[in-house]
Amino acid sequence: MKDFQYARATSVTEAVRLARRPGAAFVAGGTELLNLMKDSVQAPDLVVDVNPVPLAEITQHADMVRIGALARMTDVARHPLVRDGFPLVSQALMASASGQVRNMASIGGNLMQRTRCWYFRDAAMPCNTRSPGSGCPAVNGENRWHAVFGGSDSCIKVHPSDLAVALTALDARVLIDGRPPVPIRDFYVLPGATPQVETVLRHGEMITGVEIPRAAGTSRYVKVRDRASFEFALVSVAVLLHTRHGVVQDVRLAFGGVAPKPWRSVDAEDVLRGRRLTDRLLDEAAEVAVRGASARRHNGFKIELLKRTVRAALDGAR
């Protein structure tokens, strides 16, 4: 790890002023940045510690709950406003990482997690996200973990956050200092030819929180993984389902582990909306959910797995 300057900020204004310098990076929980620095994936010259900034509150507003960017995963998952109002968020958070990491990692940092792609994390290998133009070995390499939606020939990484998937299903908004709220669906950017650009956040900009609009319905977060806990998703599905007399009034479906960003399936939602929730409809929605997916050599199973998981999640939520 390169030596760097360290600064503590006590306000957003101060944090942003410091972070505008070239080579600056924010640190909150440290659970992601420190690993990337140790692995020479990131090498900031200035680390701006934002922990003293008072942004850890969780507050209720007329039609939404606002979570401060520095609230810790554990605290958010256990907060009554979240646990009772947005169990999907609690479930997704508690399915993430480990108890210790959840005590450290902030909500803002969670959204800014970078891909677990093993080519990205090994600085001795090519990677277009880490070193633009160096190539993507995943496309013709070991891509069991990689994207079946939204990838390009430059990059087929998947986004690792469980929380972001839940927030995508809930139509949450990301609060960025000095900007109007950004719908989370627009916050993440697909790789295309520039995989190094992963979000709309510009250098020096700071996430101050997220807003989750109230939504009716039952919810379920289903995460499929290679071991029982402390593991990223092969595939995950967040579903929010509002039915009346067996008829779908509203539904949201978002997927993790399948795309460079949390993947929202509006088509599958449209198939479900206004219809009676029969077994046959679940099958149909699951089929539509994977429409457009494309497999590489080792990740074809994700398409079938996603289909089954969508169906199981809907079934569990009804």
């Binding site: 390169k2 677990r116 090994d122 070991e142 806990s229």
Partner: protein, 729 residues
């Protein structure tokens, strides 16, 4: 008797308070830190290596490459023997595998060394590496047996002929993964020179190997090298042999004139000290319609490195476990641009998985209950030498009975894919566990002081297996004193030379030497007492005196007694030493493992819900630590079955899972409560104290039992480990 009792670990207090000092925990004044730079490519040559920026980086004391690397007094042989590998890095520009040591940076702090290591620039001439076993099967060959006398070929009878005429034939092609040991403690070496004497604080399962081979490489006498390792944070084979980082660190410390500490990063541990080789196995069994086996034909191919030809995955269970007149076993290797493989906990589990899977397949083909099938083919004599009865060393039948009862194994197994609970398919499976038991020469010395306390010493290791505790118990029993009167010190080559902790041999080897040393000391003290007119035991024939609870007494008149301390206060300290064995023997240990799994109907996720093991490990020396060993072994098998898989990029030859988030060892949530039973009958053929190894045995059945349970749950036979959800969709 203290032996056998579930005594708490005597090293427990040190381990739960953080007081136990492991190899990287030593405080050494003037310590410097070494960080390794490893090759980015898997095959080719270094054509330029620029260390200028690194050398100028703050705090850097030295940068070592092949240009200025240490030169050694010895070259490890073609078969590496107890050197882990033949290749000595830093001697030339050739790259044989990714992650090979190409430079070392030494600095005053860890952070500075680590950063300077990133500043070294290397140009490579890259060649296309060979990475895939499957793609190189046509190049597979049978290696030389080497000094370990590893067996690559075996045949008896006419296996192919018997198979061709067998009424029932089942064949399978099984694949097992490349795996890494991943002890929680990273490998570490701290080298401290005092004049021409070296002290190494080393993570080692074999103090004696480290001392001997480090001295050989450095061209010094063994007496000049002291190796210290009082606590070892697990090894599982990765710390069994002597690998280059150890003698390289020692050589650098010598030339630098400063103590040097090297702790491998987790990523480096994937290329520095071996791995379990990937295998592709073809196994066929022939049987009569009632399940009586007539033939096994087993052929396996595993990976080896460019410079070494070795396969540690012995498959002797196929030819030694079940009664069967015709058997053929062939093991071949292919050379790849990967590091040299090394034994990993329970090498026999790799072939054992295939054998116990095909037994399950035979059970399905014949309709004979898997347990009954194994009983039907039970061997009372060594199938490789039918005139040799297994005798009293084999209590496998008891294991089947104990385990089946504990598990409630069904006499009538439900059809595969017929039992459901909570959205999942339920299945049960079983397998036999089989492992050879080894012993090595061990020396144990004891000094008893005037206070009647015994200080026991041996240059052996406690790698988590309970050596500290079982030797304490054994000596206490032999002396007839309470366990608290015995203190056992190990992990230092200044003590009497002893057995390596590999191949589940420590308990039988060191335990027996401890028993003899204790008995010898007791006899000496008795002899002193009966010859001393001041003793109440004066004049009694020595054979009629014995000891219990710290007291020596007349068997026929127990009122005539005095304590050890009474005798030694008059006489002074007494020493004894015992070496065992005179001639290493071999026996076998057995077990039966039963598993229940749930497989998620939708996602294919497998969860083990019950795990039962019953083992014949000879005499149980400590019911608590033996149980833990057995549980740990079975969890090891669980990881092999369900989660563990080292993945290598086949174009670049780099290990992609070189961490603990990509390489998945089981976590707490993967593991159910585990039930264990022991037969607990002494095996005099294995050791004088009747004990046999347990750590690896318990791993051997679990993998297949779980895989068989998955097949029973889902109706699908996955012959490719690990069984991840994608394989069950």
């Amino acid at each position: 008797m203290i032996i056998g009792k579930p005594l708490d670990r005597v090293d427990g207090p040190a381990k739960v308070t953080g007081a136990a000092k492991y190899a990287a925990d030593q405080h050494i004044p003037g310590l410097t830190h070494a960080v390794l730079v490893t090759s980015a490519i898997a095959r080719g040559k270094i054509i330029r290596i620029d260390t200028g920026q690194a050398a100028r980086s703050p705090g850097v004391l030295s940068v070592i490459t092949h240009h200025n690397g240490p030169r050694f007094a010895y070259q490890p042989p073609k078969h590496p023997w107890i050197y882990g590998q033949t290749h000595v890095p830093l001697q030339n520009d050739v790259i044989y595998h990714s992650g090979q040591i190409v430079a070392v940076v030494i600095a005053d702090t860890l952070e500075r060394a680590r950063y300077a290591a990133t500043l070294i620039q290397i140009d490579y001439a890259v060649e296309t590496p060979e990475i895939s076993v499957e793609a190189n099967l046509d190049k597979a060959f049978i290696p030389e047996r080497g000094p370990f006398n590893l067996r690559y070929e075996y045949r008896r009878g006419d296996a192919h002929g018997a198979l061709a005429t067998a009424p029932v034939r089942v064949s399978g092609r099984y694949r097992t993964s490349m795996q890494h040991h991943n002890p929680m403690e990273p490998t570490a070496t701290t080298a401290v020179w005092d004049g021409d004497h070296l002290t190494l604080y080393e993570t080692t399962q074999a103090l004696a190997f480290t001392r001997q081979k480090t001295a050989e490489m450095l061209g010094v006498d063994q007496k000049q090298v002291r190796v210290v390792s009082p606590y070892l944070g697990g090894g599982f084979g990765a710390k069994g042999y002597v690998w280059p980082h150890t003698f390289i660190t020692a050589a650098i410390a010598r030339s630098l004139g400063r103590p040097v500490k090297l702790v491998l990063t987790r990523a480096q541990s994937y290329t520095m000290h071996g791995h379990r080789a990937e295998t592709v196995q073809e196994l066929s069994v022939g049987a009569t319609r009632d399940g009586t086996i007539t033939a096994f034909v087993h052929s396996a191919v595993s990976q080896t490195s460019m410079l070494n030809e070795v396969s540690w995955e012995e498959m002797d269970a196929t030819t030694q476990l079940y009664a069967c007149p015709n058997a053929e076993l062939t093991r071949r290797v292919v050379r790849l641009n990967l590091g040299t493989p090394t034994p990993m906990r329970a090498p026999l589990s790799v072939g054992g998985y295939a054998l116990e899977s095909i037994m399950d397949e035979l059970s399905h083909a014949t309709g004979v209950n898997p347990l009954e099938l194994r009983l039907r083919n039970y061997s009372t004599h060594n199938p490789e030498n039918p005139s040799q009865p297994w005798g009293t060393g084999k209590f496998l039948r008891d294991c089947y009975e104990l385990g089946a009862k504990l598990f409630d194994w069904p006499h009538r197994l439900p059809r595969p894919r017929s039992t459901r609970r909570d959205g999942g398919w339920i299945g049960v499976g079983m397998a036999t566990a089989f492992h050879p038991t080894y012993v090595s020469a061990a020396t144990v010395s004891i000094r008893m002081d005037a206070d009647g306390k015994a200080l026991v010493r041996s240059a052996t290791q406690d790698i988590g297996t309970g050596t500290y505790t079982i030797v304490t118990q054994t000596v206490a029993d032999a002396l007839g004193v309470p366990a608290k009167s015995v203190r056992f010190e190990l992990g230092d080559t200044n003590f009497a030379p002893s057995a390596p902790s590999i191949g589940s041999r420590t308990a039988a080897s060191v335990g027996t030497a401890a028993h003899h040393a204790g008995s010898a000391l007791k006899d000496k003290v008795i002899a002193i007492a009966v010859a001393d007119h001041r003793s109440p035991l004066y004049g009694i024939p020595a054979a009629q005196v014995t000891a219990a609870d710290g007291q020596l007494f007349h068997r026929l008149d127990p009122r005539r007694r005095e304590t050890y301390a009474d005798v030694l206060r008059r006489h002074g300290p007494v020493d004894s030493e015992a070496v065992w064995p005179a001639a290493p023997g071999i026996s076998r240990s057995y077990g039966a493992v039963f598993a229940e799994v749930t497989v998620d109907d939708a996602t294919g996720e497998v969860r083990v819900t019950r795990l039962v093991g019953a083992f014949d490990i000879g005499r149980v020396l400590n019911a608590k630590t033996a149980r833990s060993q057995a549980i740990g072994g079975m969890i090891w098998g669980l990881g092999t079955a369900l989660t563990e898989h080292t993945i290598v990029d086949e174009h670049l030859g780099r290990i992609l899972t070189a961490n603990l988030s990509g390489y998945l060892v089981p976590v707490e949530a993967d593991v159910p409560d585990v039930d264990i039973a022991f037969v607990d009958k002494a095996d005099p053929a294995a050791s004088d104290i009747g004990a046999k190894g347990v750590g690896e045995l318990a791993s051997n059945g679990a993998t297949a039992a779980i895989a068989n349970a998955v097949c029973h749950a889902t109706g699908r036979r996955v012959r490719d480990l690990p069984i991840t959800p994608d394989k069950l969709l």
